[in-house]
């Protein structure tokens, strides 16, 4: 448990391939921000980014964990997955670029807008990846 009362940590597991549960963690994070009385516009941007990142773990990786670090100044959400990784991050960031399988597209995901939308909505975004191992995406939102 966290000792610093000014900050809270949360963790959520994400299961690769399980689309019916995709969005669960995002909804939980949204609830937290509503309880904190964060501005609705900021909540909206956070949740949109969060949801896209969560779906990416479900769609492209095998398994992952979401680490949330919350205080009154900001929220940092780290999506760490075990999966194939991203060989060319710059290319992955391009609007419309997607390696999603046709199966994933049928589910209504895979339009290649996820990463660009995360970048657009987040106050800060960091992404790193090791091919064959996994990807870590971190977004930070200022809450004030």
């Amino acid at each position: 448990m966290n000792q610093d009362s000014q900050s809270m940590h949360f963790e959520y597991n994400v299961e690769g391939g399980n689309f019916s549960r995709a969005g669960y963690a995002s909804s939980e994070i949204k609830k937290l921000l509503k309880q904190l009385n964060v501005d609705m516009g900021i909540i909206k941007r956070t949740v949109v980014g969060c949801y896209e990142a969560e779906v990416n773990v479900v769609a492209h990786a095998y398994t992952g964990t979401i680490y949330v670090d919350l205080n009154t100044e900001s929220i940092t959400i780290r999506f760490q997955d075990e999966g194939p990784g991203i060989p060319d991050i710059d290319q992955a960031m391009v609007e419309g670029f997607s390696t999603a399988s046709s199966k994933v597209r049928e589910m209504g995901f895979g339009a290649g807008m996820g990463l660009p939308n995360i970048k657009k909505n987040a106050d800060q975004m960091k992404i790193s990846s090791i091919v064959g191992k996994g990807t870590t995406l971190e977004i930070t939102m200022l809450l004030q």
């Binding site: 000014q6 969005g23 309880q35 904190l36 009385n37 909206k44 969060c50 919350l70 909505n121």
Partner: protein, 457 residues
């Protein structure tokens, strides 16, 4: 003291309530707690959906209505009736019969609410063109949904279509028409026959609008019973002609208050969702997405929309079937002599109605926040989490809060104690922190003395 935002038509009669907690368990906004053996409502959380009313086994929850005799304070007494009233009765009861009973009860005019939908439909389409960037736009037809969005989805208040519902448009039109015919404003009494509590609450404290052309509200079940009694007495409705006849509603107008009544009339991609839990589930998901390509959302609190209103008496599925059949049977004809063509008459007032069709912005009233101040809210959040670690997560409701999480939040906000939890009581008794007498007293405080009295032994 918290500011009171809403008027509520649902009233809890303490003297009748047996504290069974059925209402608490069905409330979609967790607005109910049990205290002292009685249900207690948190006003600002309640959206007037009426789920509790349906769940109460002893009729302790009532829908407050105006005293019927109030209609006689006015010389011109208008009954504004929604079309679902017609769907309450078996086919052999004619519209004329219903009209004649209303006449006998003392009304001088009868006007269908849905006459307001034609003007509204045009205004909605125009609104959608102008506000197309705010997708999806959400109908404000159902007042329970408007309140739900205010308290639970405050980020979506900007998506609400800020136009009056058909009820208010019909009322404005009729008042104006009577005024133009020479009636004095204070002589006109417009009374709405309502299928639900949400509409009453909206009439008494309109969201986003502060005046109403409606003088009072009468519950639909009251009228239903009157019509039935009169039918039993062999009434045929022959003298209904004393009331001016109106040219019938068009099919799309008749169906407006049913599910898909609005969505089927709107351009682009529209969706209709009825029943409040379905609506909540949908909006939760929708909030997560950047862009939805849905243009219009029709959301209704009741299953089968207004056919399932809590003050309706008929089986909602039959009501829908009847109204759909009636709509199919409407002949598209020109009005006969002596029959008022409402559409034409309303057209005359189009400019007047359009000038008054907008309502003020609907404000968010979030009930999710643990505290206004973010620092305090964070501390309380921490507290909720700590408390949750010791609660059993079985949501038994014996603490008087609907779920363990609701209890944890109540405790963090100083409205409850951890010892309200029966699992905690057992643990504390084991450790000698609490005597069995003390824990019994706690349960009595929550559930009332009587539940522990001697019924059998």
């Amino acid at each position: 003291m918290a500011v009171k935002y809403f008027h509520h038509a649902l009233k809890f009669r303490k003297e009748v309530c047996i504290g069974c907690s059925h209402c608490m368990n069905v409330c979609p906004t967790q607005a109910i707690r049990i205290q002292g053996g009685k249900a207690e409502l948190t006003d600002n959380r309640c959206v007037d959906c009426g789920k509790c009313y349906r769940a109460c086994p002893v009729g302790a929850i009532i829908v407050e209505q105006d005293d019927f005799s109030r209609i006689f304070e006015f010389e011109h007494r208008v009954a504004l009736i929604p079309n679902v009233l017609m769907g309450q009765f078996p086919e052999r009861v004619s519209i004329n019969q219903i009209r004649s009973v209303l006449h006998e009860l003392g009304f001088t005019h009868i006007f269908e609410v849905e006459h307001g939908t034609r003007i509204l439909e045009g205004a909605m389409k125009e609104y959608m063109l102008r506000h197309g960037q705010r997708k999806p736009l959400i109908s404000t037809f159902c007042p329970a949904i408007v309140r739900l969005i205010q308290v639970r989805f405050p980020g979506l208040t900007d998506n609400l279509i800020l136009l009056k519902p058909p009820l208010d448009i019909a009322a404005s039109y009729f008042r104006k028409k009577l005024l133009d015919e020479g009636a004095k404003n204070k002589e006109i009494g417009i009374f709405y026959i309502t299928p639900c509590a949400a509409k009453i609450a909206a009439v008494k404290s309109p969201v986003g609008d502060d005046t109403s052309d409606i003088n009072g509200v009468i519950n639909m079940d009251f009228i239903f019973n009157k019509v039935y009694t009169s039918m039993k007495q062999g009434h045929t409705g022959k003298n209904a002609c004393q009331l001016p006849s109106l040219f019938a509603l068009q099919p799309e107008e008749m169906l407006w208050s049913l599910t898909e009544g609005e969505s089927s009339r709107m351009p682009g991609r529209s969706l209709a969702i009825d029943e409040i839990s379905n609506v909540i589930e949908f909006l939760e998901k929708m909030e997560n997405e950047e862009n939805t390509d849905i243009d219009f959302l029709e959301l209704r609190a009741c299953d089968q929309s207004c056919a399932g209103g809590i003050l309706t008496s008929g089986n909602r599925f039959f009501t829908v079937e009847r109204l759909r059949n009636q709509a199919c049977e409407v002949k598209l004809e020109t009005p006969e002599n002596g029959v008022t063509d409402v559409t034409a008459s309303m057209e005359v007032y189009r400019n007047f109605l359009m000038d008054n069709i907008r309502v003020k912005k609907v404000l968010p009233r979030s009930m999710e926040k643990l505290d206004e101040d973010m620092k305090q809210a964070l501390l309380k959040m921490q507290m909720v989490r700590d408390i949750m670690e010791s609660l059993p997560s079985v949501d038994c409701g014996l603490c008087g809060s609907p779920t363990c999480n609701a209890l944890a939040q109540d405790i963090a906000q100083g409205r409850a104690e951890i010892t309200h939890c029966i699992f905690i009581q057992k643990k504390y008794e084991q450790k000698d922190w609490l005597s069995s007498r003390e824990s019994l007293e706690i349960l009595k405080d929550i559930w009332g003395e009587e539940k522990f009295g001697s019924r059998k032994n």
